[in-house]
């Protein structure tokens, strides 16, 4: 037991460091999707840029505007008022109900390499001085898939927001429900959506912010239910993945299909927001919904 606590403390420290000391974060935030090394090649325009420039530009390609995938810690740091983030319910573990082979080991490995306990970080923070309950998914963790821990953490975050009458902001990045937890994963769609129903009925604001990629059971639950629907540019957002659709209809999909801009055109998004405007946009929306403003 003592060891578990120790391990957890170490992980929490990693997150804290990421959040509080931006200079150290470059060394620790070590993933294939986040630029590292001196130069970074943009997968979209294939040009090389100084990593420092990419990072300063909110991990957006200075040339073509491609939005790199970022970690939950990076996003939180970019978004919230300094030192205002406090994590809630970090210590949850899945029961591995299917007894899926190697699943527990895989989770332990990911915990070590990412410093996350699962594919979402939840907490409370201030943005532009307004308090908000925050959920940020991290696609490094099994493609951001939703199993019982993600479902439970998001549900608890929503319930926390409902109880304290706070607005809610969730950044999704997910391949959908997590196969390794079978039907239990599927039921998390219902659980999270039901919690949102209560938050909604309490007259509270929910902003859903879609990032690349958001598909499957996450699209078909909490991610699509925002009062305000936002997305990052060119993010892939859909229910069925493009490969499945192509296999079903046996033809190539049109360019730009299931991208944010397409979704907006179809009427499912309020705005596509560039990352550099993320903080200002959220701060504005929170201000517009602050109860003082309504009086």
């Amino acid at each position: 037991m003592e060891e578990l606590f120790k391990e957890r403390r170490e992980k929490l420290n990693i997150i804290k460091n990421l959040l509080r000391k931006p200079k150290e974060e470059k060394k620790t935030a070590n993933t294939s999707s986040v630029p590292e090394g001196l130069y970074t090649k943009c997968p979209e325009c294939e040009q090389g840029y100084l990593s420092e420039d990419v990072q300063k530009n909110f991990y957006v390609c200075p040339g073509c505007g491609h939005h790199f995938k970022i970690t939950a810690a990076d996003r939180i740091q970019m978004l919230v008022d300094k030192d205002s983030f406090r994590e809630i319910t970090p210590r949850l573990r899945t029961q591995n109900v299917l007894g899926f082979p190697n699943y527990t080991q895989k989770l332990s490995h990911l915990e070590k390499t990412t410093g996350l306990n699962d594919a979402v970080v939840t907490g409370v923070a201030k943005v532009g001085g307004c308090r908000v309950v925050l959920g940020v998914m991290d696609s490094r963790f099994l493609m951001g898939s939703m199993g019982s821990v993600v479902g439970e953490k998001i549900t608890r975050a929503i319930e926390y927001a409902t109880k304290r009458r706070l607005p809610l902001l969730i950044f999704s990045a997910s391949g959908g429900a997590r196969m390794q937890e079978g039907i239990i994963s599927l039921m998390q769609m219902s659980k999270t959506s039901n919690a949102l129903a209560k938050h909604n009925a309490a007259g509270l604001l929910y902003i859903s912010y879609l990032t690349h990629p958001t598909t499957g059971g996450v699209t078909a639950s909490f991610a699509s239910l925002g009062d305000i629907m936002l997305a990052e540019p060119r993010a892939l957002v859909g229910f069925a993945g493009p490969r499945v659709i192509e296999q079903t209809i046996k033809q190539k999909l049109p360019e730009g299909f299931q991208r944010s801009e397409f979704l907006q055109q179809q009427g499912f998004l309020d705005q596509v927001v560039e990352r550099k405007k993320m903080r200002a946009t959220i701060a504005l929306l929170l201000k517009l919904h602050a109860r003082e403003a309504a009086l």
């Binding site: 573990r93 299917l98 079978g182 039907i183 039901n194 699509s224 239910l225 659709i245």
Partner: protein, 316 residues
């Protein structure tokens, strides 16, 4: 022996019996032979049904001859009045819905419809709804709430349709909206999984106070083929996938997702469907009475808790 092998043997015996009956042989004791063959048939079936694998159940759940939503509507309710269209764009035949009488109580009935002939299959897209289907179902549920009618849904789908138009019209949003809105319905909701419960497409009709499942029906996160394709990049490993997915009625009962398992008779379900209808009539009679006694608040609380408790992770 898999259920399909058992069925092949039974067909062969049936054929033998038929041939015997046609033969005009006065010296043969037809009745005794027939009796023996019937016994053999029964032994084979009993053995096969006693040892059904999960994959056998996937096969049984998908069998086109299984009673479908229309059969249930016809046999459990009176005066069915079909309601069509989502009032937004079009009518999606893969979901059928309307008002009917259960004994002396008006109810709203909604269900996935796969169709039995190829023509019907095409008309209702093999039971794979587009967003319009979910929006139609939500319209009917909201109307049921307005007129205080309990809602009964029948689940039988491989999943929501993965097509271009479905995405253009917001498949994810339509399902999500159902999940959220069903939580707040102030009337009793009962879902019955009659065949295949596939993924979000099934879930979108089953945020219910009670979920019942036929003994050989299945309900899963994804089809076994899709599951194998995602995890092992090989949809041919569907059988292997079925065995680890925990998708049977018994599995879901153990997870407290399913409240009642409805017993199925052996053999072709369509020939003995009355056994199922009789159980469902009783169950519906009792449960509707019980749920209608609950206050709206208690009803909502019960439904919320049912889903809230699924996948509660132990804190460390």
């Amino acid at each position: 022996m898999s259920i399909q092998e058992a069925e092949a043997k039974v067909r062969k015996i049936d054929e033998e019996i038929r041939q015997l009956e046609q033969k005009d042989a006065p010296d043969v004791d037809l009745a005794t032979i027939k009796n023996e063959l019937e016994k053999a048939k029964n032994t084979i079936l009993t053995k096969a049904y006693a040892n059904l694998s999960s994959y056998d159940k996937v096969y049984l759940a998908r069998k086109p001859t299984r009673p479908n939503v229309r059969d249930y509507i016809e046999n459990l309710f009176d005066h069915f009045f079909e309601q069509r269209g989502d009032r937004l764009y079009r009518d999606d035949c893969s979901i059928i819905g309307g008002i009917a009488m259960f004994r002396d109580m008006p109810v709203t009935v909604i269900g996935h419809q796969k169709g039995k002939s190829l023509e019907e299959n095409l008309l209702c897209n093999f039971g794979m709804p587009n967003p319009e289907g979910y929006r139609k179902s939500l319209r009917l549920m909201k109307q049921a709430e307005k007129f205080k009618r309990p809602i009964i849904t029948f689940i039988d789908t491989a999943g929501a349709y993965p097509g271009i138009e479905a995405e253009e019209h917001g498949q994810g949003e339509a399902i999500a909206r159902n999940l959220m809105e069903m939580c707040n319905l102030t009337v009793p909701v009962i879902s019955i999984v009659i065949g295949e419960g596939g993924s979000g497409g099934a879930l979108a009709l089953s945020v219910a106070n009670r979920i019942w499942m036929l003994e050989n029906a299945v309900y899963s996160i994804l089809s076994p083929e899709g599951f194998a394709s995602i995890l092992w990049k090989d949809s041919a490993r569907a059988q292997e996938a079925s065995e680890i997915m925990k998708l049977t009625a018994q599995d879901l009962y153990a997870f407290d997702i399913v409240d009642v398992i409805v017993k199925e008779p052996m053999g072709n379900l369509n020939e003995h469907a009355e056994v199922i209808y009789a159980q469902l009539r009783d169950l519906l009679g009792n449960e509707l009475t019980a749920l209608c006694r609950l206050s709206e608040r208690a009803l909502l609380e019960q439904r919320y808790k049912k889903f809230r408790s699924i996948g509660d992770c132990s804190g460390i």
